[in-house]
């Protein structure tokens, strides 16, 4: 299942919306988000003048948004959620625009409203970051 309109699933809007599309391999379990960071991307404003590098926090946010959509796909409708924890993140290489970034996410565990996901981020097919996130579903 491919989602080309992420804004219809999560409440994020530009400039914070950080996925262009999400490919859901298995709803609630795993999938990947796609995002092209072009030279004029809002995330690059001030980071850094004349030397654009995609901020690590943008990669975390893109992964979190991807994970939210993969989780929401399991119940077939959009909704909200919050980032509850960020751990074990390592940034292996800078992401220089223009860059086609892929956020690979896999659910590691669920307990109550909390969900732990493993994240791998690739740019141009090369791994650039990995880590773990915990998302909290907002009350329905």
């Amino acid at each position: 299942m491919r989602i080309d309109d992420p804004a219809s699933w999560i409440p994020h809007r530009p400039p914070i919306l950080t996925v262009d599309a999400v490919e859901v391999d298995e709803p609630g379990v795993k999938g990947r988000g796609l995002r092209r960071f072009a030279a004029g991307d809002p995330w690059l404003t001030g980071h850094f003048p004349g030397n654009p590098v995609v901020p690590g926090v943008a990669l975390i946010e893109g992964a979190a948004q991807t994970a939210a959509i993969v989780l929401l796909a399991a119940r077939g409708k959009g909704g909200g959620g919050f980032l509850a924890d960020v751990s074990k993140f390592r940034f292996k290489a800078p992401v220089i625009p223009p860059a086609d970034v892929v956020f690979e996410i896999a659910v590691a565990g669920v307990f109550g409203a909390l969900c732990k996901v493993s994240v791998r981020v690739l740019a141009g097919g090369v791994p650039v970051a990995e880590g773990e996130l915990v998302l909290s579903a907002s009350p329905q």
Binding site: G109, V110, F111, G112, L114, V134
Partner: protein, 86 residues
């Protein structure tokens, strides 16, 4: 056997939650959350993931978690019960 499981769970808790305490110093009868060890819901999720990986036992929801996470002793009893039911 039950004592081994209690000791193993104390080690798992300290390792998964990166606590800077000796596993043996955990009171097996003390509550894991709130008072006692003072764990929170994100710690609970981390333990759920660790217990599933180590023992193949899934703590599916908060209701089950309430029973399992009462204390280390309660967690050991929960795991023993699930193991014998397999």
């Amino acid at each position: 056997m039950a004592e081994d499981l209690v000791a193993d769970l104390k080690t798992l808790i300290v390792a998964r939650l990166k606590m800077e305490i000796e596993p043996a110093s955990i009171d097996a009868a003390a509550p894991l959350f709130g008072e006692g060890l003072g764990l929170d819901s994100i710690d609970a999720l981390e333990l759920v993931v660790g217990i599933e990986r180590q023992y193949g036992i899934r703590i599916a929801d908060a209701e089950m978690g309430k029973k399992a996470f009462g204390s280390v002793n309660a967690l050991a009893a929960f795991i023993s019960e699930k193991r014998s039911a397999k």
